[in-house]
Each structure stands twice: as structure tokens, then as C-alpha cells.
């Protein structure tokens, strides 16, 4: 019974993800068209008829096109790794969803023989280290970019792969720091417990830890490699980055995995900071559910995820791309210190916060929110004070350069 349940959930998640990825591509093209004041894909409808259906047949046509295109393998590639790259990337991207809940629970009166407990809507329920598992699987995804970049035996691909690896490793640190705040506050690494706590208190983490949210959000954006951070692919400089040499199904796998990374980032943002399936007055907050509430929770969670994805797509057409040194400076000089501040502040809060709130005579939640926003405002002020409003992008020439030759140049030339 357990095996059957897991198999059904796995099939559901994979089928749902593939469909979602296909239609999100369509949504992204519609968004692009809307922002750029064009029509976008609106022709393809039901095959072999003249019915258009607003272009809803486009993903199907795209998929068929990908499968029937010539699958060209350049002669200069490292064959094994060239095949392995997209496979590793796709496997890692899908494997993350084993611990990501897509709802709360289904009620126990499911109508099946021998099924007495509620069904949790996650492929692997009760994983103690779910958050860390997401990290581990995400760090395997680095290999996809690195391998396909290197195996392609092409300078542009190589640059893309190295940039991808450097970017992902750099932003994993602030991502972890933003996450640790939530884990400290909730005392658990389980995603379902983190949601349940936000639902119990009714206050989402974004209201309590704005600084942690900011750090996690920026890092999550960078991890998914979307436009302000899409340095690994940059069409204008690297052709296509690490997937320059790929075509056909292998290219499809790479593109789908990139979409999956965006989806998983949205899921994590919603689950960790926006209360997961919780919405005041609609979904309730307990573990006991009826059918309407169970369905409402799924709808609320997926709706929030869709909104986050829409923001990702909006951001794509709203911000120009970073330069690579700016990207690294942002990670190491701004976001990482902010994450450190967030961590230290939360440690202090977890240790003394409850006592402080009791001494002041206000509720714990209100005190934490006030504390969190105070720290946020203070760090924002410090960042504004330290970071110049008008960035000087000229190449730097230090004083030593103007002062003349140093000791080493005095040797005969």
C-alpha cells in the first residue's frame, strides 16, 4: 500500500511538473509579448482543425518540434559526459520535488481499504532533513552545467559552465543563511512543520524576518539563473552558454530543468516565507481537514507559487543583466554580510526574544515583527550609506599604479 501510494504520488508530481513546465513556457511568452506590446503565440490550437484556443496548443507543438529535430552530436565533444550533462541536470531538478509538499494532507476517509491515516501530499513524507535534501539535490544540479559546458569542448560553453558553477556555489551561502533564520525560528528542518507553524501563529515568516526573506529571495533568484542573473547563458555574449552545442531532446532536458529550478525556487519562497498552504480565513490551520479544506489548501499553495513565478517572469523583462564582477560583488559584499547579520540577530532573538517580549508586555509575534523590521531598516540604512548610489563601473586603477614602479619593476628591462 505504501509503495503504491508513493508510486501514484511520484507519477502525479512528474506529470504535473512536465505539464506545468510546458505551459509556463507559453505563459512566459505571453508575458513577454504583453510587456513588449506584441500579440505573442496565439495561433496553435487543436491539431488538424482551424480552432485556435488562444494558442493553447503551442506547448504541444513545441514538444513535438523538439523531439523531431535533428539530434546533432558535434564530433569534438566528450561523448559520455556530453550525454551525462543534461541527464544529471534533469534528474537532480526532478529529484528535489521528492520532499516539496504540493498541498497539506488529504482526509483519512479516502474510501480505500486499509487506508486509515491521512495522506500527506508530498512524495516522501516525514523526511527529517527535507530542507537540507533540497540543498543537496540542488548542489548536484551544478554538475549539469559544469559537465555540459566542459564536455561540449567549446570556449563559449566552457565559459558558461564555469560561470554557472561559480554563481551557484557563491549564492548557495546566502541562500543557506536566509534559510537558517527560518529553521532557527521554527526549530525544524521539515517543510511541513515550517508551514504548520506559520499557519498556527497566522503570521508568515516574511512579516517576521524581512531581512532573511530579502537574502533568500535574491539568492533564490540567482540560483535559478533567471534573467538578472542569467550569466551562464547570456545569449549576447556566450551564444547559449553551456547549452550552445546541444540540440533536440538534450536541449529540451536542459531547458526544462532550468524551468524546474525556477519552480522549486518559487515553492521554497512560498513555503518558507509566505505560509505555504495557509491563507487567513480560508484554509484553517489544524492537521484535521475536510475535503473542501484539503482542496483549498492545494489551490492556495499552487496559486501562491504561480504568483511568485509570474514575478520571476516580470523581473526577466524589467531588469538588465549584471556584469559578472557585479554579480560576485553583490553575493560576497552585500548579500552574504546581510545574511550573517540576519543569522546573528535571529540567534539573539531565539535566546532572549521571549523574555524581552514578556518584559515589555506585548505578544511574542508582534515583538518579533517589530524587531525584524527594525533590523531590516537599520541594515537598509547601512547598505544605502556604504554602497554608492551611482556605481562607478570604470576599471579600477589604484594609487600604486600612479605612484610609479614598485620594487619589482626596477630590475633591468
Amino acid at each position: 500500500m505504501f509503495l503504491l501510494e508513493t508510486l501514484i504520488k511520484t507519477a502525479l508530481v512528474i506529470a504535473g511538473l512536465m505539464t506545468a513546465a510546458a505551459y509556463l513556457v507559453l505563459l512566459e511568452r505571453w508575458m513577454a509579448a504583453w510587456i513588449q506590446d506584441r500579440l505573442g503565440p496565439n495561433r496553435v490550437g487543436i491539431p488538424l482543425t482551424r480552432i485556435r484556443l488562444f494558442g493553447l496548443g503551442q506547448p504541444l507543438a513545441d514538444g513535438v518540434k523538439f523531439f523531431f529535430k535533428e539530434e546533432f552530436t558535434p564530433s569534438h565533444v566528450d561523448k559520455l559526459l556530453y550525454f551525462l550533462g543534461p541527464a544529471v541536470m534533469f534528474t537532480a531538478a526532478v529529484a528535489i520535488f521528492a520532499v516539496v509538499p504540493f498541498g497539506s494532507v488529504l482526509p483519512s476517509e479516502f474510501g480505500l481499504e486499509g487506508m486509515s491515516r491521512p495522506i500527506e501530499l508530498v512524495v516522501a513524507p516525514g523526511v527529517d532533513v527535507a530542507v537540507l535534501y533540497v540543498f543537496a539535490a540542488g548542489s548536484i544540479a551544478v554538475y549539469g552545467a559544469l559537465l555540459s559546458g566542459w564536455a561540449s569542448n567549446n570556449k563559449y560553453s566552457m565559459y558558461g559552465g564555469l560561470r554557472g558553477a561559480a554563481q551557484l556555489i557563491s549564492y548557495e551561502l546566502p541562500l543557506g543563511l536566509g534559510l537558517v533564520g527560518v529553521v532557527l525560528a521554527s526549530g525544524s528542518l521539515r517543510l511541513d512543520v515550517i508551514i504548520a507553524q506559520q499557519a498556527q501563529s497566522g503570521a508568515w515568516n516574511v512579516a517576521l524576518q524581512p531581512l532573511g526573506f530579502l537574502v533568500f529571495f535574491v539568492a533564490g533568484f540567482a540560483e535559478s539563473g533567471r534573467l538578472p542573473f542569467d550569466l551562464p547563458e547570456t545569449e549576447q555574449e556566450l551564444v547559449g552558454g553551456y547549452h550552445t552545442e546541444y540540440s533536440g531532446v538534450k536541449l529540451l532536458l536542459i531547458l526544462v530543468s532550468e524551468f524546474l529550478h525556477m519552480i522549486v525556487a518559487s515553492f521554497l519562497i512560498v513555503i518558507l516565507f509566505f505560509g505555504g498552504w495557509h491563507l487567513w480565513g480560508v484554509t484553517g490551520s489544524g492537521q484535521e481537514v475536510t475535503w473542501p479544506i484539503a482542496l483549498a489548501r492545494v489551490v492556495v499553495l499552487l496559486g501562491k507559487v504561480l504568483l511568485t513565478i509570474l514575478f520571476f517572469m516580470l523581473a526577466r523583462w524589467s531588469w538588465p543583466r549584471f556584469r559578472f564582477d557585479q554579480l560576485m560583488a553583490l553575493a560576497w559584499k552585500v548579500i552574504l554580510p546581510l545574511g550573517m547579520v540576519n543569522l546573528v540577530v535571529l540567534v539573539v532573538w531565539v535566546e532572549y526574544g521571549a523574555k524581552m517580549a514578556a518584559a515589555l508586555g506585548i505578544s511574542n509575534i508582534a515583538a518579533m515583527a517589530a524587531f525584524g523590521w527594525g533590523v531590516f531598516a537599520a541594515s537598509a540604512a547601512v547598505v544605502v550609506w556604504l554602497v554608492p548610489g551611482e556605481p562607478d563601473n570604470r576599471p579600477r586603477r589604484g594609487p600604486a599604479w600612479q605612484l610609479g614602479p614598485t620594487d619589482e619593476e626596477e630590475t633591468p628591462q
Partner: protein, 253 residues
């Protein structure tokens, strides 16, 4: 648990022969390597025949498959000539080890192995290797230094460890535990929450070790910064140190 010392010894010797034939060496041709593969397979099979059951065909199957993958990948790590392939084989070893941890109920160790070793350290290795673009043609890539001594030493260690652990871990209590499956084992060891148990152990009984390791890492960090600062000091300026020598020579031409 280990059945007979004779079989284990034969398996160990076969494994040593396999390793000796498989490591890169200019004297070994394709036939030697094929022989090595056969000997390695025989060694694996002999070891496998001596292992106890793991409670249920599913858990047992997973353990055997993951173990075989891990061992084969480990042999691949030391026997491939291309450094990048070796690094990737090592990544597979780490994944396999994580899988074995997971089956044994150590969830935290499993994910930590993957995210720390495979996700950070090995990626850094790969980064450097890919920038250096080695093609596996250098003499030190094509021949291992002491294949005979290395495989003999490895065989002695594996043999002693298997016999010692095998006799230490046998007995009705251990076998009953093994038969109950991973979930029941985890429940019995740490009350169903491995993570809480792990945290208590780490920051309770082993607190000093954790602190010492932390201080050591911190010292290493300070040392790295000191070395970097020293190098930059000679360049004269922190901001331009990286490109300065090149810029200056350009200027003086």
C-alpha cells in the same frame, strides 16, 4: 556475520589483483585490464555472497546495488587516466556513500555528504581541473606510482577490517536488528528522530571536538587571508593587485 575467513581472504586477494591490474600503468594493455575487471567482479561476488541479509528484498536490493555502484566508482576513481573522469567517479562514490548512510538511517550524514563534499569541494576540484585542461597524457596521469605496494596494503586493510567487523557485528541481537529494517532500526537507536539525536550527540558529548574543528578551520581561514594579503602587499595595492604586474609591464614597454 561474515561467513568464512577463507572466502573473505580469497575475495580480498582477488580484489588486490584486480586493483593492481586496473590502475594506470604503461605496461598494462587491454588484456590486463580485462583480466582486472574479471578479478574485480569475482571479488565483489565473493564478498557479496558472505554478506548477511538486510531484512526484506527491497532494502537488501538497494543496499547491494548501491554498494556495488560505490565500489565500482571507487575503482574507477583510481584507475581512470583522465583527471576529470576520476573526479566524476569520485562524485559517484560520494553519492553511493550518501545512499548507504540513508539506508542505515543516518539522514543528516547522507545529505551533508552530498552537499558538502559533492556540492562544494568536488565542484571546486572540477573547476580547477577544467581550467587547467589536463588531457590525461602527462606521465603522472598514465602511470600510478606504486601499484603493487598500494594494492597489497589496501588488501591487507580491507581483509582485516572485514574479518574484525564481521566477528564484532555477529550474534543474534545484531541479526535481529538487521532483520527489522531501516525504519525500525532508526526508531530503536534514536527514538525516530535521527536529526535531534544527532544534534544532541554532536553538541553534547562531542562538543569539544566540534569546537576544536571550528577553531582549526578559522585558523586556516586567517592563514589563507594572511597569505593573500602578503602577496597583495608586494603588489602595493589591494584593488589592483591581480592585474597589476601585467599592467605595469605594458606601461614600461
Amino acid at each position: 556475520m561474515i561467513g568464512s575467513i577463507e572466502v573473505v581472504s580469497i575475495a580480498t586477494v582477488a580484489g588486490a589483483i584486480a586493483l593492481g591490474l586496473l590502475v594506470p600503468s604503461p605496461r598494462h594493455g587491454a588484456r590486463a585490464r580485462a583480466l582486472g575487471v574479471v578479478a574485480g567482479a569475482a571479488s565483489l561476488g565473493l564478498f557479496g555472497s558472505q554478506l548477511p541479509g538486510w531484512g526484506g528484498w527491497l532494502a537488501g536490493g538497494v543496499v547491494s546495488v548501491v554498494s556495488v555502484v560505490t565500489l565500482v566508482a571507487a575503482v574507477g576513481t583510481i584507475s581512470s587516466r583522465n583527471p576529470i573522469h576520476a573526479a566524476l567517479w569520485f562524485g559517484l562514490v560520494l553519492l553511493g556513500t550518501a545512499g548507504l548512510f540513508l539506508v542505515a538511517g543516518a539522514q543528516f550524514l547522507a545529505v551533508a555528504t552530498v552537499s558538502v563534499y559533492a556540492g562544494a569541494i568536488l565542484v571546486t576540484f572540477l573547476f580547477v581541473l577544467m581550467l587547467a585542461q589536463p588531457e590525461g597524457r602527462a606521465p603522472y596521469d598514465r602511470a600510478s606510482t606504486e601499484p603493487l605496494v598500494a594494492s597489497a596494503a589496501g588488501a591487507v586493510m580491507v581483509g582485516i577490517l572485514s574479518v574484525a567487523l564481521g566477528s564484532a557485528l555477529s550474534g543474534p541481537a545484531v541479526e535481529a536488528m538487521a532483520a527489522r529494517g531501516a525504519a525500525a532500526r532508526a526508531e530503536a537507536i534514536d527514538g525516530g528522530s535521527p536529526l535531534v539525536h544527532f544534534g544532541r550527540e554532536l553538541f553534547g558529548r562531542h562538543l569539544i571536538a566540534v569546537e576544536v574543528a571550528g577553531v582549526l578551520l578559522f585558523v586556516a581561514l586567517v592563514g589563507a587571508v594572511a597569505i593573500a594579503a602578503h602577496v597583495r602587499e608586494r603588489g602595493g595595492n589591494l584593488e589592483v593587485a591581480d592585474r597589476e604586474p601585467q599592467m605595469n609591464t605594458d606601461e614600461h614597454r
